[in-house]
């Protein structure tokens, strides 16, 4: 509670408000500081007061053989995961808790994990700030959060307008959305952007990819899509009758620049493919199985997803027969899963493309899911255009 109150002061909150759920990011091992904090809470007998889901940890508890790192690290990472379940959190181990629980429009929640935050705020219209490690569990244990930032209606209004001006075939292309998000994160700054020109038919997976990218290249925690997301039925409603001071157009040129900047490697060398950052939905797993269509991959191919999503997915054997490794509970860019000697990895995730080169010391090729599959089957990077 002391941490919450001090953070509330920093955030300019005059009071705390009740929250209805929490999502915890602190269970991923980044060193002993995180473990020390969890041990301190557990030793004090802390228990969560609201339904609380857990983000990915450093280990795939269902497929421990995938871990290639230091056993000492694995032991500490495992102890951290265990401590958080002892505090009463649900062992969901997913960065996409919105596949499991759906906070309602206007509901106050305290979620951590940047992609989950932006999804809950933007796509679901629930209200959370950018909570991070430590404060997430403090909020879960107390059931309270500082009444500030995106918990307050006035801070959720759009202050910047982005017009997406792309030909229909680009609007329909899935890789447009992570590329748009990558651009948006760099452009938005502290504004709340509303995007216009995205059709109502845009999929939830597209919005997930957009948000995850924007929360990686920038600190975007909330965006609106006119006529699509719940707080943006009209331009007047989403701006509160105000005017967007900043405006920009995202056109073909911006799209091409973003797509190019997401790759660090050129050439056709391919050592592995990794998708599912954020964790793949059941629909994405089904698309993957459909695109593979019985063919075998010629390179290691990883898909990260939640254990609960896997349970609901009927086509697991089709993926395994094609040679795909299904990773649960963790993610390929936060823990040693890729083999030594892997230098060039292809992904359809802007978030993975953004962080993996720094985390893993590898080169990355960004492409659509179709391109990832075709490349893995061919054993070299294959582009459609």
């Amino acid at each position: 509670m002391r941490i919450l109150v001090r953070m509330g002061e920093v955030m300019g909150a005059s009071r705390l408000l009740d929250i209805e759920s929490a999502h915890i990011d602190g269970c991923l091992y980044h060193g002993e500081a995180g473990l020390d904090f969890a041990e301190r809470l557990a030793a004090g007998g802390a228990r969560v007061r609201v339904p609380t889901t857990l983000n990915v940890g450093s280990l795939d508890l269902l497929h421990p053989e995938l871990f290639r790192g230091d056993p000492d690290l694995a032991q500490k990472a495992g102890r951290l995961m265990e401590r958080y379940t002892m505090l009463g959190c649900q062992p969901t181990w997913t960065c996409a808790p919105y596949h499991l629980v759906r906070p309602r429009l206007g509901q106050h929640i305290a979620w951590a994990e940047s992609n989950a935050i932006v999804f809950a705020n933007s796509v679901l219209g629930a209200r959370t700030n950018r909570y991070g490690d430590f404060i997430d569990i403090c909020a879960a244990v107390t059931g309270r959060a500082p009444a500030a930032g995106y918990h307050l209606a006035e801070n959720r209004l759009a202050t910047a307008l982005v017009t997406v001006d792309l030909p229909d075939e680009k609007v329909a292309e899935e890789s447009t959305y992570p590329a748009l998000g990558f651009w948006l994160g760099k452009w938005t700054g502290t504004d709340v952007a509303v995007l216009q020109g995205i059709p109502e038919s845009v999929s939830e997976d597209n919005l997930k990819a957009l948000g995850a990218a924007a929360a990686s290249s920038g600190s975007v925690a909330l965006f609106h899509v006119l006529g699509v997301t719940p707080e943006a039925p009209t331009l007047e409603a989403v701006t509160g009758g105000g005017v967007c001071g900043r405006r920009a157009v995202f056109g073909v040129e911006e799209l091409q620049t973003s797509l190019r900047d997401l790759s660090t490697a050129t050439g056709d060398r391919l050592d592995a493919v990794s998708i599912g950052t954020p964790h793949a939905s059941r629909q994405e797993l089904e698309r993957l199985a459909g695109l593979l269509n019985g063919r075998r991959v010629q390179r290691p191919f990883f898909v990260s997803t939640g254990r609960d999503v896997v349970e609901l997915f009927a086509g697991l054997d089709r993926l395994q027969e094609a040679g795909v490794s299904v990773v649960t509970d963790t993610c390929t860019y936060v823990t040693p899963i890729l083999a030594d000697g892997v230098e060039v990895v292809m992904t359809n995730s802007a978030k993975w493309a953004y962080y993996a080169p720094g985390n893993l010391g590898i080169e990355v090729v960004f492409g659509s899911l179709r391109e990832c599959v075709e490349s893995a089957v061919a054993g070299r990077v294959t582009r459609e255009d």
Partner: protein
């Protein structure tokens, strides 16, 4: 010169200035073992933050940055103090928890961007517990 900042986490610190030219996410961007900037897309990749007064134009990205900062402070590879131009809860929280757990204070001060116009980009900087920043 002196600037009166808003203290987000009070404390005294002194060190050589490291002025970041772009926002940095500590998670994926800072190695808590060496204190080096490892975000290959960052213009100052390779720079070491240890014992520096870190001037940051806002934070960015992952909510795991709090732990990375706390871990860097625990290991002694963290910055001596942090000056922000945009309030960033995730950074303040990392410094706050490190203080709670290890009794090591890394002050965080917020200043307005326009006040930094005439601020030098190098040199020794002192942060006082009332949020005053002194250069030279």
């Amino acid at each position: 010169m002196r600037i009166k900042g808003t203290r987000l986490l009070a404390g005294d610190a002194s060190g050589l200035l490291l002025a970041l030219e772009a926002p940095l996410s500590f998670w994926g961007g800072l190695d808590p073992e060496s204190g080096a900037v490892i975000d290959q897309r960052h213009p100052q990749a390779g720079a070491v933050v240890t014992d520096r007064i870190l001037l940051m134009p806002g934070g960015r990205g992952s909510s795991s940055s709090s732990t990375v900062l706390a871990e860097a402070i625990r290991r002694g590879s963290g910055p001596a103090g942090i000056i922000l131009t945009e309030a960033d809860d995730i950074i303040v929280l990392g410094a706050l928890v490190a203080e709670e757990l290890y009794r090591r204070t890394t002050p965080v001060v917020l200043v307005k961007l326009e006040e930094l116009r005439s601020f030098p980009r190098t040199g020794r900087v002192t942060i006082a517990s009332d949020g005053t920043i002194k250069v030279g």
